[in-house]
């Protein structure tokens, strides 16, 4: 089948969306940008094609009356086992790479043989990490680096203490190896992994194997033919595409938001290092835009620094801010001063949740000023970007939009992080099918 791909290379994450000839989204994928856009772009595309396969599976299975009501559960299990295989393969790669790094280290005078310690660590990692893919288990992140990294820290420290080794050396080995592993081309044999995963699914159900095997096999055989790719986002210049395959992220976000919510006239996107206020017309064409200047004050990265300062995960900030009972006014959204502002407030005896709530409000206030410079909020308002996933930011935004512009409909899609990639995919479809832009 003919497909069209949009890739959004953001400063923090890289996203890909695949659409079919009618513009229907088939799949999407995300990965961390890891300062290597080539790999990030490949991984995001691979993730999007996995997600496309799952969509195709569902389409095939939907046609089988015997499976009615069971498909979602079956596919969830299938994906879980598939991801586990992928994960274990990457973990094994990490294991081997760490051993190699350890050997290099000892050749260059590192001393102690660390392979025994690494064997111990990875044995434990295999055991603990497998549980992340158990039914209903929640994962704190979808990225291999985050999952393997935090477990390695934890297990590594214990092993180092037990064996009387330097934890720092083990950490160095990990740091060196993870970069290599992350940047290795995406794994092969995805079809085989899907079939292995299917075997495991079938083992735990009484559904006849033939009922599922054939449609899944046929979905895997369906060729996904990428006819046209459009890239956008900060890393777009890194893409090996000719110029006409590269679009501005502002146009992509405008169009993406229009596709998700056709009545959208104003879009706010808060990404890792920029905040954009975009006005679009009834066809999704950008009429005006404003964005922050060279300084990333008040963008997603700012929350990242705050999380680091507080020794917390980025995704924990929103829920913490929601617990706030008292409003604290934060004046500076300067990323450089973020740590100082935070410590200053803590020293004054303010509660962490109140300070964090104040920080969220400060970010949104800054975004509101960018929106008003772009022409304000009219009709439907769509909020996109990584920060749109943060409930505390959304809460402040709703409040400020109502205060300033009255009762406007606000759209926030759980998949809003893919807005730019979706717009890019639609541009790809229009170019690839020769359909007029409008």
């Amino acid at each position: 089948m003919k497909c069209f791909i949009g890739i959004d290379l953001g400063s923090t994450t890289t996203k890909a969306v695949i659409v079919d000839e009618d513009g229907q989204a088939l799949g999407h994928g995300i990965t961390n940008s890891r300062s290597n856009y080539d790999t990030a772009s490949r991984v995001a595309q691979m993730e999007a094609s996995i997600s496309t396969r799952l969509t195709l599976f569902r389409q095939r299975l939907d046609a089988i009356p015997e499976l009615k009501g069971k498909i979602t559960g079956l596919l969830d299990d299938l994906e879980r086992y598939f991801r586990l295989e992928l994960f274990l393969e990457q973990l094994d790669d990490l294991h081997q790479t760490c051993l190699k790094s350890a050997r290099d280290l000892s050749i260059f005078g590192g001393g102690a043989d660390l392979s025994e310690a690494l064997e111990e660590i990875f044995q434990q990692l295999n055991k603990t990490l497998e549980s992340l893919f158990a039914p209903g288990a929640a994962r704190k992140s979808d990225f291999f680096r985050d999952l393997a990294g935090s477990a390695y820290m934890h297990v590594g420290e214990e092993v180092a203490t037990q064996m009387g080794l330097s934890f720092e050396t083990l950490l160095n080995i990990y740091d060196k190896s993870i970069i290599e592993v992350e940047n290795r081309p995406p794994a092969h044999n995805l079809d085989e992994k899907f079939m292995n995963a299917l075997d495991r699914v079938l083992k735990q159900t009484d559904i006849s194997g033939d009922l599922m095997r054939k449609p899944i096999q046929s979905a895997l055989e369906e060729e996904i033919e990428a006819c046209y790719i459009v890239g956008t986002g900060y890393g777009r210049v890194r893409l090996p595409f000719p110029k006409e395959h590269i679009r501005s992220e502002i146009l992509c976000h405008g169009l993406g938001a229009h596709l998700m919510y056709p009545n959208t006239r104003t879009v706010l996107d808060i990404g890792g290092q920029d905040t954009k206020g975009i006005q679009v017309d009834e066809s999704g064409i950008v009429a005006n835009f404003q964005m922050n200047d060279r300084c990333a004050a008040g963008c997603g990265r700012y929350l990242g620094y705050i999380a680091d300062e507080m020794n917390m995960g980025l995704h924990e900030l929103g829920p913490m801010a929601m617990k706030s009972t008292r409003s604290v006014r934060i004046n500076s959204t300067c990323t450089v001063f973020a740590g100082a502002e935070l410590r200053d407030r803590l020293a004054l005896g303010e509660k962490r949740e109140d300070i964090v709530a104040g920080l969220h409000r400060a970010i949104i206030l800054r975004a509101m000023s960018i929106i008003s410079r772009s022409g304000g909020v009219s009709n439907e308002f769509t909020f996109t970007g990584g920060v749109a996933k943060n409930e505390a930011a959304v809460k402040e935004l709703r409040k400020l939009v109502v205060e300033n512009y009255g009762d406007v409909k606000i759209n926030i899609d759980p998949e809003s992080i893919y807005t730019g990639a979706l717009g890019a995919a639609e541009f790809a479809r229009r170019s690839g099918t020769g359909s007029k832009v409008h």
């Binding site: 501005s248 502002i250 950008v286 005006n288 200047d293 060279r294 409008h438």
Partner: protein
């Protein structure tokens, strides 16, 4: 960026003129000439010439230092001496230059000025700048008060007020300092030459009305205004320069060539823009490249009017010497009120058949930047053409984010493209 830069003979001529002026400035001990430091807006060069004085423009020094990548260190130096990050970067580059031995771009030390001639009070910072210089040099300072044309017109009162100051303060001070007696006929001669050069400059700027413009009226334009905005207006050199320049542009039109860029002739004209605001000087080439690489030509700009809005008809007039100098000071671009500026921009977009307006808003120049957002929205409304806003600085390299500027420019160009295909489909 190390590719060989293509230069036309007018450019080489200008380069020589600038070098000669810096050489004269840095040889006052030998040539015995007196130095007046002054500003581009309201620059009274014809008058300065009447007293055999040399014209030194600190703004131009800052630009030169910016383009030679020296301003960053100078600004940091000024900041170390306590000047805030938010102060005009021309001022800090100048202060930094002084603290680093006041070396002129030719590598020789600049003499202290004999006169600080503040020619324009529309910029509040200019006044404070010269107060700082007065404190440093302790030399004679004349502050010519130029009323702001808040209602959009130059009244007789305003003109008379400036003429009175020229007669009673500026000219006597110059006579006193230079020891040369004022000769109004000499001034008339200078003004006659000014007007001749101005005619050709306007012709050159208007040549961008050709669709397939032979010039870039912003990045190229800043070179074209060089002589007339600085120490050469009223000289025979400037008359010659503009004659040669006009000849070059006439040839370009004949040969159907687009604007010249540092990398040669621009092959294609995809977008025609009007630009408001000064350029960034520290990354001038990189900034320009973002335009010509995409086929964007600036067909008209307001920055090329800061030292005189000649295209709207003003000429220095030998028959009304002091009056026309007064009108010149009053009519500079930034001395015009916001409705006037909106009107100019709207007319430019229509007369030059531009695709839209781009504003380069300067971080440290409030006298240019205040009001630009309103101007942009108003011009958009009146012309129906898309506008965009970018932010950089004059000579502080820290305020130039290439990725950010490029992102906005590319978005803007693609926005124009989209609007075009939308209207062609309609």
């Amino acid at each position: 960026m190390n590719t060989e830069v293509i230069k036309e003979s007018s450019m080489l001529m200008q380069k020589e003129m600038i070098a000669r002026n810096y050489d004269a400035l840095t040889s006052t001990q030998e040539n015995g000439r007196k130095v007046a430091s002054t500003f581009v807006p309201g620059n009274l060069n014809e008058l300065i010439m009447c007293f055999d004085m040399l014209n030194n423009l600190p703004e131009i020094n800052a630009i030169q230092n910016g383009m030679r990548k020296k301003s960053g260190a100078m600004i940091m130096d000024a900041e170390r001496h306590g000047h805030s990050e938010d102060v005009c970067t021309y001022v800090k580059a100048d202060i930094g230059q002084m603290s680093k031995g006041n070396i002129a771009p030719n590598g020789k030390p600049m003499p202290p000025p004999d006169l600080l001639l503040l020619s324009y009070t529309g910029c509040f910072t200019f006044m404070k700048w010269f107060e700082l210089l007065r404190h440093e040099y302790g030399c004679e300072t004349v502050m010519l008060q130029v009323p702001y044309t808040g209602d959009g017109i130059i009244t007789d009162n305003m003109r008379d007020y400036v003429v009175k100051q020229l007669k009673e303060e500026v000219i006597p001070a110059m006579e006193r300092i230079s020891g040369v007696k004022f000769d109004i006929d000499r001034l008339r001669e200078n003004l006659r030459r000014s007007a001749a050069a101005e005619d050709n400059l306007v012709w050159v700027l208007e040549s961008a009305k050709n669709v397939r413009s032979p010039i870039d009226a912003y990045f190229g334009g800043v070179y074209y205004i060089g002589p007339i905005f600085t120490a050469f207006r009223g000289t025979q050199e400037a008359v010659d320069y503009y004659r040669v320049l006009r000849g070059e542009i006439e040839q370009r039109i004949e040969q159907n060539l687009g604007p010249i860029t540092p990398e040669g002739d621009m092959p294609e004209e995809k977008y025609r823009l009007v630009v408001e605001g000064p350029p960034n000087w520290t990354h001038f080439r990189e900034f320009w490249k973002m335009f010509y690489e995409e086929g964007a030509v600036v067909v008209s700009s307001t920055y090329t009017k800061v030292g005189g809005v000649y295209d709207l008809g003003f000429r220095h007039d030998p028959e009304r010497p002091l009056e026309s100098l007064a009108e010149y000071c009053l009519g500079c671009y930034t001395n015009r009120n916001l409705p006037n500026r909106v009107e100019m921009l709207t007319d430019y977009i229509e007369d030059f058949q531009a695709d839209g307006l781009l504003i380069n808003s300067i971080k440290s120049c409030n006298s240019f930047s205040a009001g630009q957002l309103m101007m942009m929205q108003e011009v958009e409304k009146r012309t129906g053409k898309p506008a965009a806003f970018i932010e950089t600085d004059l000579v502080d390299p820290r305020y130039f984010s290439a990725a950010n500027v490029k992102n906005r420019l590319e978005s803007y160009f693609q926005m124009i493209e989209q609007k075009r295909s939308q209207s062609s489909a309609a």
